[in-house]
């Protein structure tokens, strides 16, 4: 009896992520969903710039590496050229909510029929722990060494809340991967975001509250607790928009 195996949609390349980082979990969830929906052969994934820049090595589907923040624009091009294929982007908070905010909002406004997996860990990981657009007020990072001062550098951006006001967006949900229950919910959301695309429903984004123990300066276990204590109170989990479900009511 097979108790545990690697999803087919993941390659054999060892992940480069730090110990305790939750990128690995989310990669696995995306790959499981591809397997379960039987879409690996027609999926084109788009990797961002940031920690998941090398995601193209980890997914077995065709992959494109995009410029920083531009993944939704690249995905738009791919989907318009290949409307029968499945197109997803996998982006971090700096990529999606800072440098790529225009591309994000406009892809949502156009209701591009794509799936976005948005990793929010409130910090720039790849470059070594700088303040992100989603860093919490008071959060200490390399570029906010005295804590994020909202008078000086503004407030965190709540992506799901903001996009829920964009008429074009179909489905927005915020999930977390810091415990088993949350991971299970996260998978359900990711699956729905891909299923929406298969069904032609349009722009579906899942925000995944993730941990960055290395740059948060916490142990992996403490980092998961920090998600419950600090992140989720600021970024409440839940469905922020589900147009089709609402229309069906």
């Amino acid at each position: 009896m097979v108790v545990f195996e690697k999803p087919h949609a993941l390659t054999d390349v060892p992940l480069h992520y730090c110990p305790g980082c939750t990128h690995g979990i989310v990669h696995r969830l995306v790959a499981e969903v591809m397997d379960e929906l039987g879409i690996e052969g027609k999926t084109v994934g788009i990797a961002p710039v940031g920690c998941s820049v090398m995601a193209y090595n980890y997914f077995n589907c065709d992959m494109i590496e995009a410029a920083h923040g531009r993944a939704p624009a690249v995905a738009t091009g791919v989907k318009r050229a290949l409307p029968e294929n499945i197109v997803f982007t996998y982006q971090g908070d700096g990529d999606l909510a800072s440098i790529g905010m225009a591309e994000t909002v406009h892809a949502a406004a156009r209701n591009e029929n794509i799936t976005i997996i948005f990793i929010n860990n409130a910090i720039y990981g790849m470059t070594g722990g700088q303040m992100a657009p989603t860093s919490l007020p008071g959060q200490i990072t390399q570029t906010s060494p005295y804590g994020r001062d909202t008078d000086h550098c503004g407030f965190p951006i709540k992506v799901c809340e903001m996009l829920s006001e964009v008429d074009g967006a179909e489905y927005l949900e915020r999930v977390a991967v810091n415990n088993v229950k949350n991971v299970k919910n996260a998978k359900k959301a990711i699956k729905k975001a891909f299923q929406n695309q298969i069904d032609g429903k349009g722009f579906s984004l899942v925000e995944v509250i993730s941990s960055c123990p290395t740059n948060w300066g916490l142990t992996p276990k403490k980092a998961l607790e920090w998600i419950d204590e600090k992140m989720i109170p600021y970024y409440p989990l839940g469905v922020y928009k589900d147009r089709s479900a609402k229309e069906a009511e």
């Binding site: 065709d62 494109i64 410029a67 738009t76 591309e103």
Partner: protein
């Protein structure tokens, strides 16, 4: 002549692109090239193509990157300030070896500059389109017919060499109307086994990528790319020679400047001055060979440009600094008159006689 129609240069580019099989266009409005977007917006939906007005030039070039990854012919167009924004995307397209067509209908700069014609993006197009070591095929039309012809050629070269082709036009070329014939035999585009179209579970996954964290691998990819560039330099240079057989003075000019220069050459020849012109049609690869032939025969080269003197550097290199070099230029949207060029020719010939 019956099959010729009058078209604006911008429209000729758009229609030629469609004839060449381009079904995806992304752009953002900017004068003086907006007719291309307007034309595409009208035509694409009728032929099953995609016109999409992007939220920015940056988004537009990345949409191009997305379509190019799938192997389909794709284009964007803009004017100088917008091309600067596309610089990032141009570098990524080069790093990922993707074919695309980019149109620059130049206007005066720097900064917001003006909206009148200019050729001051020559350096940007031929030497510094973005960060990193890379080249684009740069094609410089001098008539509405060439706007169309070089668009078709640009797609073919882009596919052949997996590069960006840039049409470097200017506001005059984009806005003027001339008779044009759009009768093309379009060759089948080459197979693109590298395209990301889905594995169908039948092959290893394709990856479109410009990231090489290992320096030796990045060096290798650069070296391989430059081998290709070397081949292109030897095989794809295009130019026109005009009255060069007995010329002692050589005008160099491209695009609209070459049109003005032709008028001046005709007048100078009436006065018995032996002057001709080499008009580069490809700005990269720069047509070195016709210039090399002039070494020892030409005493003065007059570069007529709508810039502070950019192509003149390449003329000096191609002729190994063997002559005297004169810049005859106007900038900021001004265009040299034939009389100004004639005066430069007469001065080079030893003053008015």
């Amino acid at each position: 002549m019956a099959d010729k129609v009058l078209m604006k240069g911008n429209e000729a580019i758009a229609e030629a692109a469609i004839i060449a099989g381009c079904r995806h266009y992304f752009g953002y409005p900017i004068t003086p090239q907006t007719e291309i977007a307007a034309y595409m917006a009208k035509r694409m939906p009728k032929i099953g193509g995609c016109f999409l007005q992007a939220e920015s030039e940056v988004a537009a070039i990345n949409m191009v990157y997305g379509v190019a990854s799938t192997g389909y012919r794709v284009m964007t167009s803009s004017s100088s300030p917008g091309i600067s924004l596309k610089g990032e995307g141009l570098s990524y397209l080069a790093g990922a070896d993707l074919p695309s067509l980019v149109i620059n209908v130049q206007r005066g700069g720097p900064g917001l500059g003006g909206i009148q014609p200019s050729q001051s993006d020559y350096y940007q197009a031929t030497k510094a389109g973005g960060h990193g070591d890379f080249r684009m095929l740069v094609l410089a039309p001098a008539s509405v017919q060439e706007m169309a012809d070089l668009t078709v050629k640009g797609f073919e070269l882009a596919d052949k060499y997996r590069m960006t082709s840039m049409i470097l036009a200017d506001g005059t070329m984009g806005q003027m109307m001339e008779p044009v014939s759009l009768d093309y035999e379009i060759a089948k585009a080459p197979e693109k086994p590298w395209a990301t179209t889905g594995t169908k579970m039948e092959r290893e996954h394709n990856i479109v990528n410009s990231l090489f964290l290992q320096p030796d691998e990045l060096e290798k990819s650069n070296n391989e790319r430059f081998e290709r560039y070397k081949y292109i330099e030897e095989n794809e240079a295009m130019y026109e020679e005009y009255m060069m057989d007995d010329a002692e003075i050589c005008i160099t000019a491209f695009g609209i400047a070459s049109r003005v220069a032709k008028n001046a050459i005709v007048e100078a020849r009436k006065k018995g001055i032996k002057v001709g012109m080499i008009r580069p049609i490809t700005l990269w690869p720069f047509p070195n060979k016709p210039f090399e032939k002039t070494i020892g025969k030409i005493k003065t080269y007059i570069s007529v440009e709508l810039s502070m003197g950019q192509m003149i550097d390449d003329v000096k290199l191609a002729t190994k600094c063997s002559g005297e070099y004169v810049l005859c230029n106007r900038v900021g949207g001004m265009i040299p008159s034939p009389e100004e060029v004639l005066a430069a020719i007469e001065k080079a010939n030893g003053g008015n006689k």
